[in-house]
Amino acid sequence: MSARVRVLAFVAVVVVLVAAAGVYVLREGREVRAQRAAEPEASEAPVTEVADGPRIVFRHTGIDREYGTVAIVPVDDPGGARAFTGVACDRVAARAEGASCLVTDQGVVTSYAVRELDPDWQEVATVDLPGIPSRTRLSPDGSLVATTVFVTGHSYMSTGFSTATEVHAFGGGTRWGNLEKFQLVLDGRRVDPLDRNIWGVTFVDDRTFYATVGTGGRTWLVEGDLVERTLTSVSPDAECPSLSPDGSRVAFKVDVDPGSRTVWQVAVQDLATGERILLENGPRGLDDQVEWLDDDTLLYGLTRADEPGVTDVWSVDASADAEPELLIEQAWSPTVVRQ
């Protein structure tokens, strides 16, 4: 090929690439707008119909005009009509008294916040968050909010990751700050490592909670005390705990393939006896903080392998040989409101 031919060939390649990418951007833009205008697959119900009974609140992930908004279904008819609240969240946790909603505002400097909503889904407070939304939970009476985000430089040059987990009073008031500042007690010894990460809070009451501490390449289930500002280890190898409604058991993720890979599975531990059972048939590779539907059943979100962005909520009995079942299609971040 002569130099002239090569230049012409390169120009042709660039023209083709620009045209192809341009067409794709325009078509995808139109398609996204069309999808975002589409009716949800699930039938709709007015919010008032489900607002009082026991209900499951979740993020709707159908690719339609309600994508990302919080929806509600009754506990006794999870596959039925869903009520849309009109509020969009990446992660949501709800109690009868209100809801915590983590949101991302994209841009060159992307910002993140937790929006606190009253029972009518009206905003009562907003607090800026220092990173990408990961977990949120409310205390049983709805008076405390816990948030976990992860902080990272958005670049090839970044090194690893770091979480930031904070607890504050719902609607403003006391802020306990980053739980990394709490005194850490592992295996009965006070330790002060700087490479610590804390994530996945689940409240017992307005003083006590469980969470995960990661340090030195290991994870621990810890019990936290907001008054003493301490985190005390309960047992090793547990992530993202979730306390059962009766307070007797915690469900969490464990890495069943230690080493370079991470393969999570769900385990349930009796807090009184320390006895731990692994859900053998449960979701391998689950990456979510599980939620208790009742004292015997767990809920969790799972991504669809073939559809990025679409997720489903599954349920599984908290027993060793239980088989998971699909509970709510196109749903994520489930949270159960019992009254």
Partner: protein
Amino acid sequence: MYISVRDRPTSDTRGAGSGSAARPPVGRVVIILGVVSLLTDVSSESVSAILPLYLTAVVGLSPVAYGLIDGLYQGVSALVRLGGGWLADATDRPKWVAFLGYGLSAVARVFLLFASGAAGIAAVVTADRIGKGIRTAPRDAMISTSTPSEHLGRAFGVHRMLDTIGAALGPLIAFGLLALVPGGYSVVLVVSLAFALAGVALLGLLGPDVRSRSREAAGASRPSAPPFRWRDLADRRLRPLLVVAGTLGLLTVGDGFIYLALLDHGGLNVTWFPLFYVGTNVAYLLLAVPVGRLADRIGRARTLVVGHLALVGAYLCSVLPSSTAVATVGTLLLLGTFYAATDGVIAAIAGRLVPVQARTSGIAAAQTVVAVARMLASAGFGLLWWLLGPAVAMAAVAAVLAVAVLVAATRVRSLDVAELTP
């Protein structure tokens, strides 16, 4: 066998030679390779800007899974770099080895469109980093071979400036597209793929087929240089460079720590964290050419070593009590200066300290030594940070590094006056 050229031009060099202007234009090879890097960096940085959001918000991965994937970015490329260098030297086809590397990264982008779940994305990210590892040393060898020795620093400066412009444009393009198509992560991935393919096409079609050995054969009217041998890397001229660069690398902690120390300074919201990278990049791209030219004048090895004093400054600036604005601007500026004085400069030095048939491997060896030393440094510094806290740890490393720079400065004169390959 080697043409004995002093790396530091004497005072009459400016007027000597071909009699052309004191500053000849930068070669076409450098510009084309620079634009190839620019296009590729737009591609990779637009993806990495949205990857954390995409993985967590859309794919639904947790911090830990994301952290594992992010970690892959760091280590993989250093390991394959030597392999890419060896392949380029063994075949004497640096252009096509570089092409292979750029191509592999472009192909990885195609699969990223379809990958969901941690394992698939980890595989794609790994392929992308392997591509980067393969292409870097052959590309730098081409720049080295096609540039007269006395202008190497400037040539690498121009290349790194174009490269960094691409890195700065990538995130802007990504978030521009997301503003245009809400939630359109696939749009960003497709546009990123188009940029990557344009870079590959530019290299393949218009990138000159620069060969180190053929050039020497023509110049020396010998049939051809001997084939590449691993022991060329043990060249006694290269060894001091590897020792000096490796030792200084052991005292170079990751940028992430410096940025965390800045945050620890107080008064800064964590949401500014991504902008630290942008600030460092801007300082780097503005300084790459002037510092490269300075290196050509005062000696490249000297610039490399003394440039580490900018890093000492960045360490101190990030922890010394001062106003937050001063600390931030000063740290990022000094960090950009450090990169300008080291990143391209080390390739410029290494390429000429080994026989031509080992040029790519020589560059790869120097870059690998630095990368591995810096990984060790970050791991070790994590421990130091844990034991002493950010301020004391930073100050301690700054002090040791300052001493190391002084000691290394006595070793580099031999590097700057070493017999160089053409």
